[in-house]
């Protein structure tokens, strides 16, 4: 049993924050440098820990607009300055990494944090890590499949014998450091049914990455996860969800701050994918009906509670601070999330 499942039992709800290390703006309006942005995330995580937020998840990217390419190194920094918060990747792009090394690095963070490390595996929606580390995109599926398999074999922390096409074989290989209570693991998936079944096959908790559209459309995927676990004889762990958002004192202020930031970041990504520019209409639609949790604490709390109920989700992670927003507004948002939104959501869910 993984740690995630020990914690997220059916009567507990857990709340987290996810960041890719977007570059925030400083008081003078200029963008922070990469090192400054990384230190900013550490400050935010420290605040989140003080406020009792359950998890900080850091994504892995290799692009100029995001400062975090090595989540576990940042998590190691956060580890020694926090007490309770779970330290997670969101996600680790396992396809272009070495499962043995991933295990070693997270086991090290686990030691530094007294057992708070967690790996969230995923295929990732960007693929810039492939050429960077010398992998061929055409092997995408095989790389992920094999590496998840190897990674799952490492988790019992006993000597592993393994053979595949994407990495050197292992014969009775023991991997260190050992952890005290096992490494927390979950798998993050988008809308691919095959990935949902894979999570069940490896007995991993499922986190749904819902970045657009009505969240309740994922309800059948939760059902698929449960049925797959039943068919395969594994455990259907409590399901989590992850979506972008932004919180300020009022709806108006939140929209004012979030709109230009989201637009900048969507259009930057859209350019490489051939999407038309992000419209105000889309932004408002996503706030009203879709998967943007933007607004006052009350608005956001209601929306989160509704989505969690619809999906029977036990964890919610908000991707915060996407695009160039001010460092000050980001800290404020962490504070509002911890002091107002989370208690309100818990209240709403208990009704």
């Amino acid at each position: 049993m993984t740690k995630q499942s020990k914690k997220a039992t059916s009567d507990t709800y857990l709340f987290g924050l996810d960041s890719f290390g977007d570059l925030p703006t400083k008081a003078d309006g200029t963008l922070m440098s990469h090192p400054e942005a990384i230190r900013q995330v550490v400050e935010e995580a420290i605040l989140a820990d003080k406020l009792g937020i359950n998890r900080i998840g850091l994504g892995e990217h290799h692009r100029p607009d995001y400062s975090i390419s090595s989540p576990e190194t940042v998590l190691a920094g956060i580890a020694t300055r926090t007490k309770n918060i779970t330290l997670s990747s969101a996600v680790t792009v396992l396809s272009s990494d070495d499962p043995v090394r991933v295990f070693e690095r997270f086991a090290t963070v686990d030691a530094l944090s007294n057992g708070r490390a967690q790996v969230i595996l995923g295929r990732g929606s960007f693929t810039e890590s492939f050429p960077l580390f010398g992998y061929d995109l055409r092997d995408y599926n095989e790389l992920f499949e094999e590496k998840v398999e190897l990674f799952s074999k490492l988790l019992p922390e006993e000597p592993v014998t393994w053979e595949g096409k994407t990495r050197a074989a292992l014969k009775n290989a023991d991997v260190y450091p050992k952890t005290e209570k096992g490494l927390g693991v979950a798998i993050g998936v988008g809308g691919s049914p095959e990935s949902v079944i894979r999570a069940a096959r490896y007995n991993f908790p499922l986190i749904l990455a819902i970045i657009g559209g009505a969240p309740d459309r994922f309800a059948p995927y939760v059902e698929l996860y449960r049925q797959a676990a039943e068919d395969l004889g594994t455990t259907a762990h409590p399901v989590g969800m992850h979506s972008p958002g932004f919180i300020a004192e009022t709806d108006e202020e939140a929209r004012k701050l979030a709109w230009p930031a989201f637009k900048t970041s969507w259009d930057r990504i859209g350019k490489t994918r051939g999407w038309p520019p992000y419209t105000r209409e889309q932004f408002l639609y996503e706030i009203e009906h879709g998967s943007l949790y933007v607004g006052s604490p009350e608005t956001v709390a209601k929306k989160i509670a509704k989505a969690m109920k619809a999906l029977d989700a036990r964890t919610f992670d908000m991707v915060y601070g996407g695009g160039p927003v001010s460092a000050e507004a980001r800290l404020k948002m962490v504070e509002l999330y911890g002091t107002k939104v989370i208690p309100m959501v818990k209240e709403l869910l208990s009704q």
């Binding site: 055409r138 691919s192 559209g213 459309r217 059948p220 698929l224 994918r273 009906h289």
Partner: protein, 206 residues
């Protein structure tokens, strides 16, 4: 109407759901044997039948391609003979690699598929919206909120048939022109990503 869907991923499953809702008989295939997709089909698209790709091609009257574009050369050419094939694929560099490695520069991607399937009638449709937009925006005919979906084909008859399917699945069909003109629906072109009214979409016609 027997509608076949090749590709049981995000788009294929979404279109199967819309087609079932419209009362169609639906069969779905993935890249491997039916066992691999049986559970997804059972849970996500109850009522649809999981088949092999070849069986889908033979069984269905109209077949939607919902596979990565780069895989089109794996399609069963023989079994698709005489059928209407709806091409919903897009070139996605992150999955397919560079465009020029799979499609000649002079052709639209749907033209390349038509050339590969010379005895099928290819209609480009369902490709310019995201799968969650297709799911969220499907509306019955007559609804004020109905969004438009563009069609392109070299066959008038096939276009008429597919227009009816587009409408049954919840969108206002807008016929843009030939498969060559369909290029404007590809990623990076004017028509890609548009979730809009018929009037606006018609402006892209030739």
């Amino acid at each position: 109407m027997k509608l076949g869907i090749i590709g049981a991923g995000k788009l294929g499953i979404t279109l199967a759901q819309l087609a079932l809702k419209a009362g169609y008989e639906v069969a779905v295939s993935g890249s491997g044997d039916t066992q691999k997709i049986a559970l997804s089909v059972k849970v996500l698209t109850p009522g649809a039948i999981a088949m092999t790709t070849k069986d889908v091609a033979q069984w269905a009257e109209v077949i939607i391609l919902a596979i990565p574009l780069g895989k089109f050369r794996q399609l069963p050419v023989e079994s698709l003979k005489g059928k209407i094939v709806i091409d919903a694929t897009n070139h996605w560099p992150e999955v397919d690699g560079p465009r020029e490695e799979i499609i000649p520069e002079t052709l639209s991607s749907s033209e390349a598929i038509q050339q590969f399937l010379p005895e099928s009638r290819v209609v480009k449709a369902f490709s310019h919206m995201g799968y969650h937009e297709l799911r969220d925006w499907a509306r019955p005919a007559g609804s004020d909120e109905r969004k438009a979906l563009a069609l392109a084909s070299d066959s008038n008859q096939a276009t008429t048939n597919v227009a009816a399917i587009v409408s049954d699945l919840g969108f206002e069909p807008v016929i843009l022109g030939s498969l060559s003109h369909g290029r404007i629906l590809e990623p990076g072109q004017q028509g890609f990503g548009l979730v809009t009214s018929a009037t606006k979409l018609k402006e892209l016609g030739n």
